[in-house]
Symmetry: D2
Subunit: 141 residues, 4 copies
């Protein structure tokens, strides 16, 4: 299911139906304040020109997942979440199958949240790892 | 023009014609061992669900640009370049226009290269900044 | 001169006279909202066990310099500055002489500032580079 | 015990007896290829001028710990380990007690190793977190 937490929620219709998540085939599967899960199939749209998963695909999935989890956790208090930084390390090239992302929240402060997102391939091997820092601010308006 | 340095070079045909660069509409315009330039139009495929440029779009463009510049600079010596890490900071949300990326090489060592990539919007305001570390290794085979 | 901006200012006596800056021999020479300069001599107290400058010395100097510059720039508005993240890349080992740090502010937002700090050795060669993100918040009390 | 793995090993006497580890009172307690533990007391020499632990102290301890663990693991194969990058996030200010660092290796490749180092205060609360990337290279000579 695509961006479940957002599309399932009538009061926050996403204004961008064909967002980058959709363009790259990202699936956001689970979210909570502590943990999130997502995945994407390794197709050409997430590959760099030489056939392996583009480094930006990991960075983008981590950003989507951390943003989504944080937003869902803080919106009830009238806050929004914005990406502040994204640090991705690439460990193992992947050229086929499905990449799974698992996010763990390591800090949920009043004004910033930090997530560690680990990526694994079909055989469970770590292929990349991202630290995402989210800024939490009062919703405008 | 799309991935000029690669597609223009008959001896290195990209095996992935519909790569992530193409899926996101990235244009890679200039490359050298010191500097590179790229850009992308702000369309839905690079937006997150709430309408601004997805953080992953900056990270991905920086990765493409640094990879391309490094690869073109080291391939003559029988080397390849692989992304090792990508650290992107987000400074200003952008919702329309064109985002331009300018990469400067700050370190070109024997085994690693470092690039600083600055992103600006149509009015020349900095919207994001990425440090990319590339590993340089002998080409396999 | 040591921590000039702080020690010269009677209304903000530093409560920690023998701080880490002093323990490591850091000199903070210039500060403004746009740029800062510092340096340290390469003595054993900033070396790792095998004789080159400890990676943590660069990270620490960048943190000191960015904190000091930001704090001096925002305190007039009743704000304080706190380090949020520090990303240091090591490019060239240094074993003697003086290391000079030059910080440039690349983002001065309402709630966060970003600094790029470049380190050079006696011959002007880049030896390390740090991106520091500072959080700016209302002063407590 | 100070830098146990190094000082205990007659064939690699550290040339820098009064290194930064000693200047800051770092204790390196355990090392293996998978995990390391260190700690430091919160004294003035690791504080910034306003009394909390200096961000550079976390970065430096993470660098020491990851370097030491990696070096001990790869030296048997004639390799050395050099810090390549250090990314530290600051979560909670600490002003007294002891800070404990626990390092986990998340990638041990042929040419690079990655460590995640988590810092906690006396009450077990996370105060900072560092990702260290080490380059592994053949020992010179």
């Amino acid at each position: 299911m695509y961006l479940a937490g957002v599309t399932d929620t009538p009061e926050t219709p996403p204004p961008v139906p064909d967002s980058m998540e959709r363009a790259l085939g990202f699936e956001l599967l689970e979210h909570s304040a502590e943990r999130g899960v997502g995945r994407f199939a390794v197709e050409d749209r997430v590959r760099q020109p030489f056939g392996i998963v583009h480094g930006g695909a990991y960075a983008a999935m981590a950003e989507s997942l951390a943003s989504w989890c944080t937003y869902q956790a803080v919106r009830g208090d009238g806050n929004v979440a914005m990406g502040q930084s994204n640090f991705t390390s690439f460990m193992r090239p992947v050229s086929e199958g499905v990449v799974t992302a698992e996010a763990r929240c390591t800090h949920s402060g009043r004004t910033s949240w930090v997530w560690e997102v680990d990526f694994s391939d079909d055989r469970g091997r770590r292929c990349a790892s991202t630290r995402v820092t989210m800024a939490v601010r009062p919703a405008p308006g």
